[in-house]
Amino acid sequence: MSVAQQPSSSAIPTSAPESAAPEEDIVLEVQDLHVYFYTQIGVVRALNGVSFKIPRGKVLGIVGESGCGKSQTSLATMQLIPRPGKVESGKILFREFNNQEPIDLLTLERNSDEMRNIRGDNISMIFQEPMTSLNPCYTVGDQIKEAIILHQGVDKEEAHTRAVDILRKVGMPNPERIAISYPHQLSGGMRQRAMIAMALSCTPTLLIADEPTTALDVTTEAQILELMRDLQREIGMSIMFITHNLGVVAQMCDEVAVMYLGRIVEWASVDDIFYNPKHPYTILLLRSIPRLGSEEHIRLESIKGSVPDPYTRVPGCPFHPRCPSFMPGLCDVEEPPETTVDGNARHTVRCHLYT
């Protein structure tokens, strides 16, 4: 019998939040999502049972190293997993309005009208590379208008007015001019603002931001993050914020999910993640951030080893080969179940230290 089947552990995360907050308004709920890539040299298990919830108007940060499945989680939500990837199982429940019966996005056909109506209208996305995420052949205004015309059914002139408005809203100087500019005429920060404008043009319920500031310099990054935070409060949307930068998480997020090898290993409020981290991986991640004011000439800690190659399956806890608290005979055999920390239903961890 596997550990995951134990009644105590599986019952806690589902029953506890219900009693704590029975009317919680969840915009997006991902349940046990598995995404596999069937490549010629073998199966890559990109996501192995990812589950999380994003409440309305909140920002969930998804943190992890490269290749841990952050981006695949976001693409699965949009139903844009590239070939040869495939969603194996799981549910992605989306509620546009409170108390609405949720739609399981995975039951919709990938290119169906229903799915396309959700994409870009209810859920929109900002990508990592502002340099390449706008089409070089069309003006910024045309690309924003395209979404507005598609989802809001307005004529070209009205769409243009709205596009200029949204460009002004994201802090573009001279938005009329920007609207008739081509992407190559704008700087990286400006392009990312244009991307944000495009993503927000239809006032989405959920915004997925996949490392939106990774390619920008720090001053631009700060401006973009502040802009996103302001607009999030103004529109009241939820954000799935994907990043590997814990500093950005502290600035942006309400809740944090830490991912490792296609699983969420710890989920907590942003305060708990920084002041009361439980999972050894989270603790090590936090220790590897360089800090101002720390003593000079102290070597920055790094996590030993590296992410195992994607074709192999690690038995037991996926982190055990690199874990300082590795318990032989347990961690490399049994996969740890999701456990609540100190009875706090809003802080869960997957580690044998806490079972």
Binding site: R116, R119, M125, S133
Partner: protein, 327 residues
């Protein structure tokens, strides 16, 4: 943009000036002249020719003039539209080539448009259905298209047209229309004669352009902005044709510049096999017979077409891709 055009036109004139000098020198380079073959013909006809007769012919044809003088004679006339007289045909060069040139250009452009119409959809289909059976079939056809020699393709199509379609082939129009006045019937007959040369001439470039289209589109489909377009909720067809193809089509546009002269030189064999009155066979004949004014004039016109083709390609590219536009 106007500045750009004026500058380009100026460069074109400079290029043509150098082409005319080099072309003229190259045509003058082989020993002997048209007169040698003409004398041989006259000797066969009527026995010996006296030295004085030869001398007067030399003066009449001007073959012993220095090269710069011949060049001056030709170029001063050419700028006024008088390209001299063909030795062989005893006719003004202009009169000889206009019709053929027009037909060659028609054929080249029809072939290019045919190549585009076939290669763009096929390339897009192959790229969006990579590693499926239709993709492999298209790939196999491309290799055949590149590998089959034009004369063979021309012969096969002629046999096919005469035995299966019961169509008259060869030449521009059927025998019964040769001396008939222009009419819709004659025009239709002309069009039905055109398809064989178009296929023969464009087979190679179609195959090549399909390959290029497929490879480029595969690159573009991996670009982030394609993901952006999909994330907007656009239909897959719009994503492909509006956002991807426009970014993948550059080499096909640039092909106008390169394909046009290739089509014109490539049609020589097809024209000989199909008995078509294009510039190709005429140019080959003129070079063999050292009919120099005819040869240099045709070389000049082919150069003009090459340069104009490139200009059109550049303008089209600027229209397709704003990054190429000059600020």
């Amino acid at each position: 943009m106007v500045n750009f055009l004026i500058r380009r036109l100026f460069y074109m004139l400079v290029t043509l000036f150098f082409v005319s000098i080099i072309g003229f020198a190259l045509i003058e380079l082989p020993p002997g002249s048209y007169l040698d073959s003409e004398l041989q013909r006259l000797r066969q006809l009527g026995g010996n020719l006296s030295q004085s007769q030869i001398r007067s012919l030399e003066i009449r044809y001007g073959v012993n003039d220095p090269t710069y003088l011949k060049y001056w004679k030709w170029v001063s006339g050419a700028v006024r539209g008088d390209f001299g007289e063909s030795f062989e045909y005893k006719k003004p060069v202009g009169e000889l080539i206009w019709g053929r040139l027009l037909f060659s250009v028609t054929l080249a452009f029809s072939s290019l448009i045919f190549a585009w119409l076939v290669s763009i959809p096929l390339g897009v289909y192959a790229a969006t259905h990579r590693y499926t059976i239709p993709d492999y079939l298209i790939t196999a056809m491309q290799f055949i298209g590149v590998a089959v020699p034009q004369f063979l393709l021309a012969l096969v199509l002629m046999v096919f047209a005469t035995t299966v379609l019961k169509q008259e082939v060869g030449g521009l129009v059927s025998q019964r229309f040769v001396n008939a006045p222009m009419s819709w019937e004659k025009f239709w007959d002309f069009v039905s004669h055109l398809w064989i040369p178009i296929i023969v001439i464009s087979a190679g470039s179609t195959a090549w352009l399909t390959r290029v289209m497929r490879a480029n589109l595969l690159d573009v489909l991996n670009m982030q902005y394609i993901q952006t377009a999909r994330a907007k909720g656009l239909k897959e067809g719009v994503v492909i044709w509006k956002h991807a193809v426009r970014n993948a089509i550059h080499p096909l546009v640039m092909a106008i510049g390169g394909v046009l002269p290739a089509l014109i030189s490539g049609e020589v064999i097809a024209s000989i096999v199909l008995n078509l009155p294009t510039t190709g066979p005429l140019l080959v004949q003129a070079l063999i017979k050292q009919d120099m004014y005819l040869a240099i004039t045709m070389v000049m016109f082919l150069s003009i077409m090459l340069i104009v083709g490139n200009l059109i390609a550049d303008l089209l590219l600027a229209w397709v891709d704003p990054r190429v536009r000059l600020e």
